[in-house]
């Protein structure tokens, strides 16, 4: 009988004195992350969208610059933008990257509950905050790296296009590097918010809808609703922190960069802490 192999292993595995520690949980979550086809597809889509949008944007910017050369009105508009139109070309797909990677954050956590995987996960590691934090680290770091790498590739792809319109883009310039890093951190933050929503709601559709509501619907709704409160509150929405964070100079009627950083930080920390608290309390 095959059962004979059970006991021979008994001595070996108990003698080794295995136990759970955070690094092992991190390893487990990383294995989980890279062994799902859907994750790979979403990551590939993000890279594709980032590069594709940058190429489109490079072409569009070139057209605009050409028009500006002949049209004084367009030239005035260009000057109003600070003169350097090409600098934001590599990160022009960021709105879509945040949507996809935010949804990925939601899915990676909500699918634990919808598939029943959570019972295996939390039986193996009963201190539930450990798998949560490990997953959070995997999701955030992966989102950061993917966004950073896609942004750089997007920049490389845009260069020849911009060049054909006689536009200059220096990927090594301070502002280029700042844009790349800040945008990547921002996308990682969105993924972390998504993961917290997935953990709190334990439902994929609900989590993604909440995320879309927070990042895409709320800014528009707050703009449409009259009243000073909504006008002010709008600045504090997580999706509206990215512009102040990447601006060369402070734009009036927006948050200062440090304020935006704090607001975005709060938008990450509050859901994460709440999700961990609820995860500890609720039955799996």
């Amino acid at each position: 009988m095959r059962t004979a192999t059970v006991s021979r292993k008994a001595a070996a595995s108990s003698a080794a004195g295995h136990g759970v520690n955070f690094l092992r949980v991190l390893d487990s979550e990383f294995i989980k992350f890279r062994t799902l086809m859907s994750t790979k597809i979403l990551l590939a889509c993000t890279a594709l969208v980032m590069v594709g949008f940058a190429a489109l944007s490079a072409w569009g910017t070139g057209q605009f610059a050409d028009a500006a050369a002949q049209d004084p009105e367009a030239a005035a508009a260009m000057a109003a933008q600070g003169g350097d139109l090409a600098i934001t070309v590599p990160t022009s797909g960021i709105a879509f990257a945040q949507l996809i990677l935010g949804s990925l954050g939601v899915l990676l956590m909500s699918s634990e509950f919808t598939t029943g995987m959570a019972r295996s996960t939390f039986a193996a590691v009963p201190r539930r905050t450990q798998p949560f934090l490990a997953k959070l680290a995997v999701v955030a770091v992966a989102s950061f790296i993917l966004t950073a790498v896609s942004t750089y590739i997007a920049g490389l792809v845009s260069l020849p296009i911009l060049d054909s319109f006689d536009l200059k883009l220096d990927l090594g310039s301070q502002q280029s590097i700042k844009l790349l890093i800040v945008n990547s951190i921002y996308v990682a933050a969105v993924a972390a918010i998504g993961m917290s929503l997935g953990s709190l709601l334990r439902n994929s559709a609900g989590g993604i809808m909440s995320l879309v509501g927070l990042f895409f619907v709320a800014p528009i709704a707050f703009q449409l609703i009259p009243g000073e409160f909504f006008e002010e509150a709008r600045k504090y929405l997580p999706g509206n922190t990215i512009n102040p964070l990447t601006a060369v100079e402070h734009v009036p009627d927006t948050l200062e960069a440090w304020q935006a950083a704090l607001v975005l930080g709060a938008w990450v920390v509050v859901p994460v802490v709440l999700a961990m608290f609820v995860l500890k309390k609720r039955d799996v």
Binding site: S28, K32, G116, A123
Partner: protein, 337 residues
């Protein structure tokens, strides 16, 4: 070793587990038996620290599950055949689980081989049949070579070979000195696998005893008597605590009196008897008897003409008109703990 004390779980209005206390001993297969909705799975989830008890507590190998440093080496559990991400392969699922405890790859291959999953290990778990899902769940439970094994309805969906395999595995592990706790709603399965039985109904423990003792306590000894003169013998036997039923011509089923006394009475009154057979109840009958009042979801067919195979109804399969089943409720109350 699993020790539960006053374990209670309330979901809103409904009390799923109502203050159960029991001990599951090592070196034995302990069956956890009860009708659907009796609280078996909830109790097992509380043991595993997945559900928080409303009251009471439970320890495994001396500690609450969550306090163990290496829980997979202490307890292996199959709680739900589909506690697996449907899009991940069986192998990768086990790999992720093993990683949390630093269990080597060799052990993953071993449990895959042991559970007969080799051919499908690289396939997505979502496409597995119920039986394959169960095997993966059992592989998962065995991964850490745990001291205590908790299996919730492990034979559901398994083919006969698989059922036999689970049975042998459970007995083998118990012989090795491990604690094996298996739930089932099928008494026949438990009769063949378990040494000890904990019977639960509507969240309460209604029996905690050995398989033999359960049959003993839940059945009244019956004797099959064949005689041409059933009416006369019936009158002779009638008396305190004796129950006589006639289901076929020339045949009586007598309970509450032993075969020797029946023979003596027949001899005394010169009634011809040409068969006198002691009948023993099966575990299944004992189980019906025990859980009759505790079944949460009664089938509505049971008030009819005794639909075959109707659990909990008066007409148990294989025992038509079984007098033991219609024994007064008082005998049952006496054996509850």
């Amino acid at each position: 070793m699993i020790e539960a004390t006053g374990l209670r779980k309330v979901y809103g209005e409904k009390t799923a587990v109502d203050g159960v206390s029991f001990t599951v001993q090592p070196g034995k297969v302990t069956g956890f038996l009860g009708p659907n909705g009796a609280g078996k799975s909830t109790t097992m989830r509380m043991i595993m620290g997945l559900d928080r008890p409303t009251a009471g507590h439970v320890t495994v190998n001396g500690l609450p599950y969550a306090k163990h440093k290496a829980p997979l080496h202490q307890v292996g559990a199959l709680l739900d055949a589909k506690a697996v991400h449907t899009s991940r392969s069986a192998y990768n699922h086990l790999r992720a689980m093993a990683a949390t405890h630093g269990i080597p790859k060799k052990r993953i291959d071993e449990v895959i081989d042991m559970t007969g999953l080799s051919a499908v290990a690289k396939k997505k778990a979502g496409g597995f049949s119920l039986g394959m899902g169960q095997r993966l769940g059992i592989a998962n439970a065995l991964l850490g070579d745990p001291q205590t094994l908790i299996l919730d309805e492990p034979v559901n969906g398994l083919d006969p070979e698989g059922v036999q395999w689970v049975r042998n595995l459970a007995r083998y592990l118990a012989r090795e000195g491990k604690t094996v706790f298996i739930s089932s709603h099928l008494m026949s399965e438990m009769a063949q696998t378990a040494d000890h039985l904990i019977v639960i109904g509507r969240g309460r423990i209604i029996a905690d005893t050995t398989v033999d003792a359960l049959i003993e306590s839940q059945t009244r000894k019956r004797t099959l008597v064949r005689t041409p003169d059933t009416s006369r013998l019936g009158v002779l036997l009638a008396g305190e605590g004796v129950r006589v039923d006639q289901n076929e011509p020339e045949t009586l089923e007598v309970s509450g009196i032993d075969p020797r006394r029946i023979a003596e009475l027949a001899l005394e009154h010169r009634v011809l008897i040409y068969e006198l057979t002691p009948l023993t109840s099966s575990l299944e009958e004992a189980y019906f008897q025990l859980t009759r009042d505790e079944v949460e979801y009664h089938s509505h067919l049971e008030s009819g003409t005794g639909a075959p195979g109707n659990r909990g109804g008066p007409a148990a399969p294989g025992a038509p008109g079984n007098p033991a089943l219609s024994a007064p409720a008082a005998t049952m109350e006496g054996t509850r703990r």
